[in-house]
């Protein structure tokens, strides 16, 4: 796992991907920060944090698209899968490497918080909560991206699949909102209500936005950590399944 982690981190920075990811994140966060917090002379960063959700949907697929697909395409997976390491170790190593690059990008928000504190009195609890939330959301997105990368040999296809899946999981509650609102009394009103609530419950976007309101809800923390574990586990299953096909 350690070897894979180190190799992955290195490869993010010998290819342009690591730099592109960090630079794009910095640029977008900087833009949002200056328009929302600096220009308005506002000692809060919540609107910047909530708008970062959008850029993650675009950038995380770029970060994770090659994790497994590229290994398959170049057959280097033969070297990983025939080495005395477990599949779980391989997938975790890749996850941690992507997460490290992501953390490096997210660190800019801490710098911004310091800038804010020069001009005003930010609520540190909320800001720390937001940064933690951003890390959790990104972690879950990375796990999903790696999972999507395990289906194909093409980086581009992997990126597109992850993009679609990330949009879906982020806006599940919006999809729920599209369901027709019906009069009371029909037997299926309850069913549709149930579906709507369920979609809201598993909507990544909904749960993330809650943090930016300053609500630090532990069930949301648990939710994101479980999502990471679940998608990494599914990735292991996909790799295992392929061996048996």
């Amino acid at each position: 796992m350690g070897a894979i982690f180190r190799r992955e981190v290195r490869s993010y920075f010998t290819s342009p991907i690591g730099y592109i990811f960090i630079a794009a994140f910095f640029a977008y966060a900087g833009l949002m920060f200056s328009s929302d917090s600096l220009n308005s002379g506002y000692a809060k960063m919540d609107s910047m944090f909530s708008s970062l959700l959008t850029i993650l949907i675009v950038l995380i697929p770029i970060l994770t698209m090659r994790t497994i697909s590229e290994e398959k395409r170049t057959r280097t997976d033969q070297c990983l899968l025939t080495a005395p390491v477990s599949l779980g170790g391989i997938v975790t190593g890749k996850f941690l490497a992507a997460f490290l690059v992501y953390t490096a990008a997210v660190s800019i928000t801490a710098v911004m918080a310091v800038v804010v504190s020069i001009y005003g009195e930010p609520d540190w609890n909320v800001i720390v909560g937001n940064i933690v939330a951003l890390l959790l959301l990104g972690g879950a997105f990375i796990a999903i991206g790696i999972f999507c990368s395990s289906f194909t040999e093409s980086q581009v296809v992997a990126a597109v699949i992850s993009f679609i899946v990330l949009i879906a999981v982020s806006f599940l509650s919006t999809i729920g909102g599209l369901l027709p609102a019906l009069d009371e009394g029909h037997w299926y009103t309850k069913v549709i209500e149930g579906i709507r609530t369920a979609l809201e419950k598993i909507s990544f976007g909904e749960r993330y936005i809650e943090f930016t309101y300053g609500i630090f809800n532990f069930s949301n923390v648990i939710f994101f950590i479980s999502a990471v574990a679940a998608f990494l586990f599914l990735t292991v299953r996909v790799l295992e399944k392929r061996r048996w096909s």
Binding site: C79, A83, R243
Partner: protein
């Protein structure tokens, strides 16, 4: 060291490997010979734990690769058909990575140094792998397999795509490695397994067609009742003369050259010596034998015969014959 028992692998309806069994003893160089699509790579991928089998078992040093993969894989160095190289790394970075990946315990710098001088890649140690020639990439692939000094080396078509000089170097290297390792090597080139291997397993369409030492395999399939000769003389008369020799079963004219020179293939009945009479008859009629040799089958013929499905009766025949003799 390696034991494969009734191994099968199906891809949907396709039986890529169909109930094969063989063994490789300690320190043996085993050649895995078969045409493209015979199931060589599939078998090797199963042996190394890259894919799983549909049925059967593969034991490495007594450990089932599916039951305890991590432990079994510690004993294996694998060079797949396409060397699994990270092109964006230098040779050094790559080998360091493999060293860490295999959780190797040997002293890092000296161990990797030894491997590099063995496969002669010291002078490209700091070059990016993507800039190396095919031959060097293959060697880096081999170096990768050697990291951790595994007891078993599994090499899938290690010389494919190399130039003749590189092929000879790699073969020499494999023979050298065979002294300290159990090696399984696959190939569709006969001269290669002939040159390198102690034992040969011939497979075709996922089945073992033959499994024996190289000498035995050749011996079993050749008789001393077939000859090739080149004779200077009128074809019809020569044919008639040969036919008239006591003990000759069949005679064919394989090729006609200029000036009445022809190549003939003569088959005699088992145990009949025809060469003296052939010589005398030709001499009496003023014909000259330019060449006379046993039609010793080389592995190429054996292989053709085996993979065309004719050889199994032939093998059995010769077995029965030997038994009858004993």
């Amino acid at each position: 060291m390696i034991e494969v028992i009734n191994l099968s692998k199906h891809y949907g309806d396709k039986k890529a490997v169909n109930n094969i069994s063989f063994k490789a003893e300690d320190g043996e160089v085993l050649g895995f010979l078969g045409p493209n699509g015979a199931g060589k790579s599939t078998t090797m991928n199963i042996l190394t734990g890259y894919i799983s089998c549909t049925a059967g078992k593969a034991l490495i040093d007594g450990i089932d690769i599916l039951e305890d993969p991590v432990k079994a894989k510690k004993n294996i160095g694998y060079l797949p058909e396409i060397p699994p190289l990270y092109l964006d790394m230098t040779v050094k970075e790559y080998l360091y990575f493999i060293y860490d990946l295999k959780k190797c315990k040997l002293p890092k710098i000296s161990h990797l140094q030894d491997i590099c001088s063995l496969v002669k890649i010291d002078h490209v140690y700091d070059r990016l792998i993507k800039n190396l020639s095919k031959g060097y990439k293959q060697r880096v692939g081999l170096a990768q397999a050697l990291v951790g000094n595994p007891k078993v080396l599994i090499l899938d078509e290690p010389t494919v795509g190399l130039d003749p000089k590189q092929i000879i170097e790699i073969r020499t290297l494999i023979r050298k490695l065979g002294k300290n390792h159990t090696v399984i090597l696959s190939s569709h080139i006969l001269s290669e397994v002939q040159a390198v291997c102690d034992r040969i397993v011939v497979i075709n369409e996922g089945r073992v067609v033959a499994n024996d030492t190289e000498e035995n395999l050749s011996h079993k399939l050749t008789g001393d009742n077939k000859f090739i000769c080149k004779i200077d003389g009128k074809k019809d008369s020569v044919m008639r003369l040969i036919q008239s020799i006591d003990g000759v079963d069949k005679v064919y004219c394989d090729a006609e050259h200029k000036n009445d020179i022809c190549d003939y293939r003569i088959e005699s009945f088992e145990g009949k010596e025809i060469r003296y009479e052939l010589f005398n008859k030709m001499a009496q009629n003023g014909f000259t034998i330019l060449e006379l040799r046993s039609a010793e089958m080389n592995l190429e013929d054996i292989f053709l015969k085996l993979t065309m499905g004719e050889a199994i009766p032939a093998l059995e025949e010769s077995n029965n014959y030997e038994e009858a003799e004993n």
